[in-house]
Subunit: 483 residues, 2 copies
């Protein structure tokens, strides 16, 4: 373990984060005169100070960071930044939160979960609102780098499959330059998508402030909104369809966006088995949902179409925006959507859930098992497009699946023991572990009413989800710390 | 596909079943003069007639049955016998059931699930009570043969691991003689256990009738009782502990019982990794449950001990007897026990659930994945005791796990769409798919109050559980029927 290089990186990250997160909010507070300048300034100074402290003691370190250190850095990235990200909520002059609530809101923001403990969003200071949205956007940048560049290298849950696909140099075992190179390429796309999305929202009738804020949480698949009614506030079919379009895009592998952009070719998407499966799942669930909503006369044709498609894409990609009270939809539709969020978005996107590629591989392997029962001696391979998938990758996916189910069950029973209602507990675990945001019943619109201990458990769940469980799990193995 | 040999076997099975199931009940009805003789006689004649009809048309068949035909025979065994086993409930002069209820009760009996739609068991004719218990016992005999002899040959869900262990000749590809040989050896043990269990119950104070009836459902891990209060009726700590002992034994691999008996050596059990894991799980859950019951002052020390141990073993082995209203136990204990039933008993036992060996292998493989993340280039093997487990077996176990989770989720959403309450639906699926019996809330004491469609769905769940899902799944593959 190279503690000094890890500390140096965290120090630099904190200094960077202190400015990226707080400076724009200070500007917003200044523009709107909402009296929160000092809260952000205090947060900035504390965060910068701690980061600088770490850096001062370690900047001479000439250690190289190695692949294995990645587990620790990634975990620290989200925990440390989430903790310091909570400061403005604590220090807010108008609407200070308790420690638990501030940390919950910050974890929920940076992991792009989008669960909130705040009610009365519409009356919050503009700068705090902006800060929340921006936390998600920064979290999304972290995820893109994590999912496209780091996880494939670490080999978590079959993600070594994507090792060759990351843009940037791959041969080097020194994590930092490789990561920086890859991340830069992807962030251009990320920022481009955000800008286009914001312009589209603005053109469709949002205020500039809301357009920017919602573009942040759309492209980050975050789901935070500046209004309690979420996207439903705007009551505009055009805005809803713009959101659907950008949520869909943000749920696609960013490495694929990169290749498609480089080669100026949409056929890249059509040829990718994961993207095709992703689109098919969304289409199938959307059609079913729209039909049920229409046939059960929950809505008229137009509303069934818009709300059905919007909620399907929003929940299945794990964005978590709402336009309708989908909790009360008939025929177990709420559960169907929660299931969809377990599948989640594509690997390498800003979305959560188990990731489409893993579900695809599990299906293919399950199908292979059935074939093997009928033809015990046949050699049957699992293929993605024309490429054979190594058994090693499939084993990793299984491992991920088993651990995911186990973690889900353990978190569920902990929440039940904390006296949450079953549906609330089941959906809260799902919404946190899949980085979705809204759950059902007791956590349908916000997480204000659940106990403090439960909130901390859910923070852990959001972190586990974002770190694809294994990153955190590895740190608890004595083997990791040896030598 | 060898249809004529399959039809011949089903014919013979039906003729055999018609007598085994109905003749003893006729005797019981005669002894107690409860007026049900004609119901059983009618059932016997119809069942025998259909069986004879099948046999007459096919007895000349000289086809050999091959391994692959096993999937069909095993599926038909449980479906056809369960359908004909429903006849006495339909024809009962005193307490006739509807078609749905009769079929449900019969499926629940023969699959040794033990879920009942009947209330007022204590007032039922003795012969009908006896018939129910006996259905479970016969089902248990079927499961022992299935689990020890057939599943390893078919290679379902990693069970090929046990291929070498089945007593009897193994080289032959002709299913029938091999199965008969193996089954005979195991049935002696099964019958011996039943006899000793019945004597113990009798000596502890049950009536001879109740002792025999409950020995049937104990050794079969069935859980049917002749009283609405289940084992709680007897209100005897000694009877409860006898039940715990025999449920525990019935949850062990019968092939292991066979070897232990042959070599007259208890050390066989201690050396078996699955049995050790099984005992450890039960011990851990029992200790936790007893402690929680005592510390929360749910019971005094003695009752916490007895009820805690009894319910843990009863639910975790998937027997499903109850002595206490464990539904209302504090701190999510009911869910913990339902989780335990998902693990279930050992492979090759009469118990249900996913089977201990699979959980053990999933843990070991999960642990291997974590190790592999830390040491990507190390060759790490999975071992059971001193034996290396082939990757092929582990892949099958993963396949089983994934399909199990998928089937659970699909059945759950179907029941939710049929408007069952969440806890009721969740536990009913678990209780059926794991062949456990009692669920929580709406299906805690019986299944009388749920809709007819839901009952048919649960019949399917019981069947899927008993057939380890894949047996049935294979039949739906066009590939299976080809050539
Ligand atoms: K989200
Ligand atoms: K049972």
């Amino acid at each position: 373990m190279h503690i000094s290089i890890v500390a140096k990186i965290v120090g630099v990250l904190l200094m960077l984060f202190s400015m990226l997160a707080n400076l724009p909010s200070i500007l917003v507070s200044f523009i709107y005169g909402d009296g929160e300048v000092s809260s952000f300034l205090t947060s900035l100074m504390i965060t910068f100070g701690v980061g600088f402290g770490l850096w001062v003691f370690t900047w001479r370190s000439r250690q190289e960071m190695r692949t294995r250190d990645g587990f620790l850095v990634v975990t620290l990235f989200w925990t440390v930044l989430s903790i310091f990200g909570a400061l403005p909520f604590l220090f807010s002059t108008n609407t200070p939160l308790s420690v638990t609530d501030a940390v919950f809101e910050s974890f929920s923001g940076l992991t792009t979960t989008g669960a909130t403990v705040i009610t009365g969003l519409d009356f919050l200071p503009k700068s705090i609102l902006f800060y929340r949205q921006q936390l998600q956007w920064l979290g999304g940048m972290g995820i893109v780098a994590l999912a496209v560049a780091v996880l494939p290298m670490l080999g978590i849950g079959g993600m070594q499959l994507y090792r060759a696909e990351s843009p940037g140099p791959v041969k080097n075992d020194n994590l930092v330059p490789r990561l920086a190179e890859t991340a830069k390429a992807l962030w251009y796309i990320y920022m481009g998508l955000t800008a286009v999305c914001a312009l589209a929202y603005w053109a469709a009738g949002m205020t500039l402030f809301d357009a920017i804020c919602h573009s942040f949480s759309t492209v980050a698949i975050g789901g935070f909104s500046t209004h309690d009614a979420s996207m439903g506030y705007f009551n505009s079919d055009i805005i809803n369809m713009i959101a659907v379009f950008f949520m869909f895009l943000a749920g696609v592998n960013f490495a694929l966006h990169f290749t498609a952009w480089q080669r100026r070719s949409v056929s890249q998407y059509l040829r990718d088995p994961e993207t095709r499966f992703y689109a098919s799942i969304l289409l199938a669930i959307a059609v079913f949902t729209v039909l049920v909503l229409y046939l059960t006369e929950t809505y008229n044709a137009q509303n069934a179409f818009v709300h059905g498609i919007f909620q399907t894409v929003s929940i299945a990609t794990t964005t978590g925006f709402t336009t309708a009270d989908f909790n009360s939809w008939p025929l177990a539709l709420p559960y169907l959507l929660i299931y969809a969020s377990i599948i989640g978005a594509c690997a390498g996107s800003t979305g959560g859930g188990m990731k489409v590629i893993r579900i695809l591989l599990i299906f293919k392997q399950g199908f292979r098992e059935v074939k093997r029962l009928i033809h015990p001696n046949a050699v049957i391979t699992v293929k993605l497009g024309r490429t054979m998938v190594p058994d090693r990758v499939i084993e990793s996916v299984w491992g991920f699946f088993a651990v995911y189910v186990l973690v889900y069950l353990v978190l569920l029973i902990v929440l039940l023991a904390l006296d949450l209602e079953v549906v609330t507990a089941f959906s809260a675990v799902g919404a946190s572990l899949n980085n979705l945001g809204p759950g059902l019943e007791g956590v349908a619109s916000n997480y204000a009413d659940i106990g403090n201990t439960a909130k901390w458990v859910l923070c852990l769940a959001m972190l586990l989800g974002r770190l694809e469980i294994f990153t955190l799990l590895v740190l608890f193995m004595p083997m990791f710390w040896r030598r």
